[in-house]
């Protein structure tokens, strides 16, 4: 099929199993294709990282003004969880973001910052150790759903002390 060659159609394909298996009425609202130049006005923006030191008198990076339209929305988080599988995030970051090829997203530790705008930036423009830049492929709204899902993963978790009892996580090797 010729249409398969476009990345847009590929992402559609990626979403097909998602739409087939969900009864959530929101499924229909998932943007079906990347919008041309989606989020173009965000490109090149910076957000601050936790390890950045701000010299006195310098204003914080403007990226912090990004606002998650789905903040705290459980349905958006659930949809983000489906996108997490559809876009193959799961095979890098593990089931429930528990860590695999890529780092854990469920430990409340953030290499590039864990605020909504910072996670948005990580997904939107990628990160140095192999995190792809999704901003040119998927809609801004889908990125925010992913942000909402990812930030929900470590809620209430305490991973500070390992006492070798209790819960374990199922992991797949390769």
């Amino acid at each position: 099929m010729n249409s398969c060659r476009s990345s847009a159609a590929m992402l559609l394909l990626a979403l097909m199993p998602l739409q087939a298996c969900t009864r959530d009425s929101r499924a229909a609202e998932v943007p079906r294709a990347p919008q041309q130049g989606a989020g173009g006005d965000l490109a090149g923006r910076f957000v601050s990282h936790q390890e950045h030191i701000q010299p006195a008198g310098v204003k914080p990076f403007t990226g912090l003004q990004l606002v998650n339209p789905h903040e705290g929305d459980a349905k958006a988080a659930a949809m983000g969880g489906k996108l997490f599988v559809a876009y193959n995030c799961v095979d890098c970051h593990g089931a429930d973001g528990s860590g695999a090829m890529g780092p854990s997203l469920a430990d409340n530790r953030w290499h590039f910052g864990g605020t909504a705008p910072e996670v948005f930036e990580s997904i939107y423009q990628g990160r140095p150790e192999g995190m792809p830049a999704w901003g040119s492929l998927i809609s801004e709204d889908q990125v925010w759903m992913l942000v909402t899902y990812v930030r929900s993963l470590s809620k209430g978790k305490d991973v500070t002390t390992e006492n070798f009892g209790g819960k374990t996580v199922e992991r797949t090797g390769h």
Partner: protein, 606 residues
Amino acid sequence: MRARPLFLAVLTIACTHESGTPPASSTNAAFTPVTGTRIAAPRSGPPGEWPMPAGDYSASRYSELGEITTANVKNLHAAWTFSTGVLRGHEGQPLVVGNTMYLVTPYPNVSYALDLATEGQPLKWKVRPENAQTAVGLACCDVVNRGAAYADGKIFYNLLDGHTVAVDVASGKLLWRTQMGNLAKGETMTMAPLVVKGKVIVGSSGGEMGVRGWIAALDAMSGKEIWRAYNIGPDADIKVGKRFKPFYHSDTTANQGAKSWPAGTWQQGGATVWGWLSYDPELNLVYHGTSNPGPWNGAQRPGDNKWSAAIIARDADTGEMVWAFQPTPHDVWDYDAVNENILVDLPIGGKQRKALVHFDRNGFAYTMDRATGEVILAKPFVPMNWSTGVDLATGRPAINPDKAPYQGKKVSNICPSLEGGKNQQPAAFSPATGLFYVPTNNLCMDFEAREVAYLPGTPYIGGNAPEVPGPGGYKGEFIAWDATTGKKIWGIKEPYPVWGGGLATKGDVVFYGTLDGWFKAANARTGEVLWKFKVGSGVVGNPVTYTGPDGKQYVAIYAGIGGDMGLLIAGDVAANLPYDVRERGSTLPDLARWTSWGGMLFVFSL
């Protein structure tokens, strides 16, 4: 359900000890050496050196050194150590040539030359080639490197980001750096090269990323590519021509590297070459395996998917395919066939056979004819239930339908797991006993296949396969194997998969390391553990032995947990970055009590 009787039958063979706690060795007093065996191409250089990844072209990992014996090995002690400065999985092994030791670290793939002739082993040089950081997140199974190869005053090794490099050993100068893999497609490189007649032979990694696997030869002097053969696709691309004579008739139709896939899907079909190479100088054939087909979900690629999960013999000069054999046609279990092919001459059925012995991920040990690709025998070397046996008329496994994953159904308790009965951890062979010394895994899995979209640069997997311990209460075993009969002679059960390789020596001492950080020496004839030392981190590398400038025999091993087992499965020992804390993995839930990450070389002597 139908699998159960078989399962129990295998159990009775494989589990002589039920104890799950650290190693009880099972001995066999009746053992007599398998006589008339020999390494196909024993080393021609000094026995005190270790110039190639497996010591010799035959991948034997055998040393003629015999100062360390079953009688004195109890006196072995740590002689010196070296920190590589890197904390990820240290698969692979050092090289020793003359009075210099060469090491290559996991990413960022630093190489070191250590002067063994000077007290304190100072560096002669340290080389840090440019190596794209992006590769770290694209490597499926930790950022490992399986070592360098030495030839003609140079060492050659691969960079994770898809380059092959050559370093002048006299000066440490980087002589060339050639891009072989395409990182943007998810291709990385982790395997150890083999140098054959001035050609550096290398292969790709990335079977979980929807790449198209290849093997290639570079000119050792210039770094220019001489030939490249894909393993899937049309005949011309995979170098199938007049010389191709597979043993099994069904393998002879044209363009099956493309036709055994749904239209075009071979382009993302995996079949990478991330394991070990061996070479027979007399036949001039290079032997390699290929990885799993992509994606794991078999529903997206009906057909045999040739030549994924295959063993292939190629002409070393041209790359032409001479024969190929697929241990697992249409693999849906992630049973790569990349494990080493050990080249030995063996007496079988009253005849001396030019054999190739291969312990496959799928749990069968294959004794093959290395000239023709004929399977002489194939027997399970670990507990298994996915197949009831190999039909020697066709070479194909009889598949237990209850243990074949397919999309939409979760299949439980498939043995062995996707880590295989054995994985990258290479076995060793001793012509003194005629036996193979094989580090094995004893894990099973539940497999759930699902549809997956190909998105370049992201994993192309389509499956989830959490693992559980195999039958018998142990998760790994170091076994001695008679490849002329397909029988286990003895086994040392281990609480964890034995993810480090073996070493056999003339002193009848065999060595291996464990995930929980023990480096062990055992009697090659009985399996009795004679000595052990707790090294600084779990072992996923392979022991080597050499003669020091003082004339003594040394044994060296990396301690540095990681690789697939450490990084992906254990979880709790994988968090070697301050911003990455992982919950315990259910497969090896308490491994982190016994070890932590590291990156050290340990060297022992009497």
